[in-house]
Structures are given as C-alpha cells and as structure tokens.
Symmetry: C2
Subunit: 339 residues, 2 copies
Amino acid sequence: MLISEIGEFGLIGRIKEGTSLPRNDVVVGIGDDVAVLRAAGGKYLLATCDIQVEGVHFLKDKITPHQLGRKVVAINVSDIASMGGRPRYLLVSLNLSADATVEYTDALYQGLWEEAGRFGVDVVGGNISRSPTGLIIDVFLLGEAEPQGLLLRSGASPGDLILVTGELGNSAAGLTLLLNPDISCPEEHAGAVKAAHLTPTPRLKEGQLIARSKSASAMIDLSDGLASDITRICEASRVGATIWAQHIPISLATRAVAQSVGKDPLDLALFGGEDYELLLTAPPEKANELAAAVLAATGTPLTVVGEIAPSQEGKTLVLKTGERVPLEARGWDHFRQKG
Amino acid sequence: MLISEIGEFGLIGRIKEGTSLPRNDVVVGIGDDVAVLRAAGGKYLLATCDIQVEGVHFLKDKITPHQLGRKVVAINVSDIASMGGRPRYLLVSLNLSADATVEYTDALYQGLWEEAGRFGVDVVGGNISRSPTGLIIDVFLLGEAEPQGLLLRSGASPGDLILVTGELGNSAAGLTLLLNPDISCPEEHAGAVKAAHLTPTPRLKEGQLIARSKSASAMIDLSDGLASDITRICEASRVGATIWAQHIPISLATRAVAQSVGKDPLDLALFGGEDYELLLTAPPEKANELAAAVLAATGTPLTVVGEIAPSQEGKTLVLKTGERVPLEARGWDHFRQKG
C-alpha cells in the first residue's frame, strides 16, 4: 500500500498507534509538532524538527541561501512559539550535493545565525553529509517552558472563539508570484507577499504572551493552512469548528495576486500554508482583552475567524453569502493524492 | 570554491569560526558529534543527530527497512555512548519518495522502536516530509549525563595509551561483501561482518562504565575509521598519536574478506569506518585495570593500539615491519576528492 493512499496524517496516526506507551516524563509525544518532556527543576524541555528539501520545499533559483538559512530557523522557532515556549539550542543537519560551494554554505549559515540570534537561539552542533540530489537542511530546535506557561492543542471547548495573528494567504500569494514571474503585480504588494513566503516571521513574543496570559485554551502555528491546522486542534480537543470566511484577515496584496491569477483569495488563506501565524482559541469573555493586550505589546493584530463547535457538528465554513459548507482539511499534505 | 576543495572537516572548521561565541551554558558546541548543554538541576543535556540518506549511506536493496531503522538509532546512541551519557528521547525526520509503501515504513519504524527500546530511549516525535529522490531518515537524539560522568575528546595527554573496544574493520568487510555478492567467503564469517555493517551494536554500557571509572582521559566513537577519529582526539586534545598496526584487533572474518578482494585488512581497520566501537585514551597505570573491568562487566575486550604523543610529533603509524609512516587522516569524508 502506498503512503499516498493514507496520506501524511494517516501515516502519523499509524506511527502513533504502533509506538509503545511513553513514560511518565513524556508530556506530549508523537503526533504533535513539538515534543514536551519533563526536565529537571520542574521545567519542560521542548524538542521539534523541521526540514527544507530542495525541489520539495524550495527551489534554489527562487530563494537565496541567506533567506533559506533564515527560513529554516524561523519555521522551527514558530513551532516553539505555538506552545508559548522559549527556543534555546539548535542543531543543523546539512546535506550537500557534490556541486555545493563554500560561498553558498557561508551565506546559508549567515542567514541561519542571524535568525537564530534574533530569537536568542545558540547554534550548538549538527552533522554534515552528502546529498545524492539537491540541498537538504534539517533543523532540530530545543526549547523550554514553565509547565504553567505551556499552551497545547488539546484545550479548546465548544463556544471558544477561534483567532489568528496577522494575515493569512500572504505566503501562498508570494509563492504564486515567485513561480509565475510574468504575473503583473504592484511592487509594494509583490515585495510584501514574497517576503512573507521567503522570510516568514515566527510569532514568538506573541506566542509567549498568549500562553502566559492564561486567556487562551489551545494554540498551534499555521504551517499547513487554516483548514488543515484547525483540524489538528479539533482532533486534539475532540471538538468541531465553524470558520467565518468573511472574517479571515486577507491582505490587499494577496487579494491582488489572487485576482491576477484567477484564484479565490479565500483559497490561498484557507489552504495555502506556510503563513507561520498563530491559530488559537479562547473563551469569548477573554478574547477581546487578549487581542488588545497582544496588539499593545507587539503591534500584531489578533482576529476572530470562527467559533469552536461541539464535536458532532464537525467543521463548517460559513461563506460570505451565509451558505454553510463542510470545511475540508485540505492544505499541505506531502503524500495525499490531490482530488 | 567547491566544498570538495576544503572537505567535510574544512567546512565544519569554517562554520565553527563563523559562529559567535556561545553562551556559558554551552559546554561543548559546534565541532563535536554531541552538543553538551548545562541543564537545570546541575545535569548536562546531550544532543546529537545523524542521518541515513539512500544512495549515500545505504542502498535499499542491501539493507532491510527493519535493519535500517535499527541502524539509524544505533549510530546516534553510539554518539551518546562515546561521552558516557544516557540516551533518553528521539525525534525522527522521515523523508519519503512518492513510491514509499506503508509496509516499508512499518518495518522501518518497527526496527527503530526495537532498537530505541533496547537502549531505554523514547521515540517522542519528529516530522514527515516528501523526498525528491530516495529515502532520507534523520534522527535527533537527546541524552543526559552527570557533569562528573562525562568524557570528552579533549583530555588526552602524551604518554596516555590508546584503546579500542571490540574489533575494527568488520563493518567495512561486511560492506565489501554486500557490494560484491560474488566474493566467496565462509558463511560464518560473512554473516558476522554483514551484521556488523547492517546492525552495529553501540557500546553504550561500555561507554558509561568507562566514563564513570574516571580512568580514561578522552573518548570518541569510531564512525569514520580509526585514522580519522584519532585525528579528532588529537585536534581536541592538541596532541599527536602513534598507532601500532600489529596491535589493532582485526577479526579472522575481516582478514578473510580482505584477502579475497586483494585488500590489506589494515586498510579496512584504519579507514573503513562505521565500526561504532569506542576509541579512548587512558594513562598507562590505569589502562589494564580499566580493560579488565570493562571485560568483566560487559564481555567486551579493550585493546591497546597505540600511544598519545606530543603534538609536534604528529600522527605516526608503526607497521608490522617496525617502519614508521605518517598516519593520514583518511577515512570517511563526505566531500574530499580522494587522491
């Protein structure tokens, strides 16, 4: 049976089932983006990894090595941010093809160090090997959190509001422009969405603030797309969700790009992925105050985009017309055959 | 400039130079196989990663998925063992080609879990992605150690004896047989050396015992080959080394394989790599007692293969004839153009 028949999340489920019960000191294990481990001194140790493979995650002529170095750190920091953790140490597994140059790897490491430094992360080791094809860069990031300052995917309850930081769809719009250089788009828009794709900003300060506020009930980062990532919260919390299409924050730039390629901007926002914004839930009586606090402290807006529903109601998308349609968990799945 | 012009260790040196000074809580950083980090409660946290890339580290028709799962865990456990640490938590970054099957990944994970369980390691997470070519499996292993029970590469002094566990060259002999199935070799020999290559046994108990004994001055695991790995100890300890060829423990099986392909068995032992035995140094007055203690507790022999020399004497290989030749740091380098 091909993996493509069960998909990425089918495979993860299979792996999760097959594994023996973890020990007491594993607070969160297989199935989450970040492992949470009980450490000495009453702290939690966080561990995550995320990879960039040439030809799968990036094309070498569309991203500079400096940008790639920054991005591979940023997407890992985003995972730690999604729990409210503090990133600390980073290991790099670098796999280079035979034609790799010193200039390329120098620029890659420069970007990597800069981004690591920006978030207080020490690059402490790794491994270098040869790749039979293109560049493969795998980053392992260790972080820490206080048990009382940790926010998981599993705490959402029916009635909670669903919020996101920033805007959704910019990364997908940027990728669209990079892959279709002939699309005409005003430069101020093009620059912003390309940057969102090439050098995403992990919402670290926002994530820490949200987790410490105790006002939110669940959180995840938006790596695969709203439609897919809300599914992760729904599964972990055993709830359903209603997403209100017209409330999803979509930039003018993303709307402009979508229009120029004849796509619905909503598709980019729901299914595009790689926004690395935070997706969280909070009881309605706490949501406004939380949004105001995050905006005041970081300048980042939080927008209510839906509501957690009872499990049996499943996931619903309310269109601008008021029509209610099932929300498919589409988004980035590395193996699923697309319908 | 191509990476192949400076080689793998040239690149690591460049990366090490470029990085800013790590903070106080980084005890061992870039340049070692294992990062050592000061953790809460006075403990040390160990972090390492090691990858298996199809077509570079393995061929899919030469190793079963179950063996591959075991091996990728074993080679990481070996790194933790080389410091005397205790492996704890493992993350898997799995990158699968489009034709990957559920049966293959099931067997891979089965091997991985079994080997992890054998060494008390919990598989706690990871990441799954697509590979544009073959299978890529990257493992990230966390461990722990007491500060007083940690053994580094940097403590060797002139006069210390150089010791190895087990036998050297078996893995290279096994690989030779796997790549040349027409070589005739008695089955009892063939089976042993193939197993040494396909499912190496990390010397975890031995490493912990050696580190706790306080009798050894430096230690590393033999992943690249004796000639290359003794160089790592020499560089870290700022010393030279003399290796006595006739004292290197080489099995009858490895001698038989070498003979059948017209190679010197010494080449397999010095430059073959992937033995995952331990290479250590100890003052002469402690070496015998240490070897006896390790043998009694684990059944694994320790053999004296040389002596640490002053730095200015460099590295020397004493041949069976008594002739002294410079010991080249040949061995597995992923990028160096072979002369």
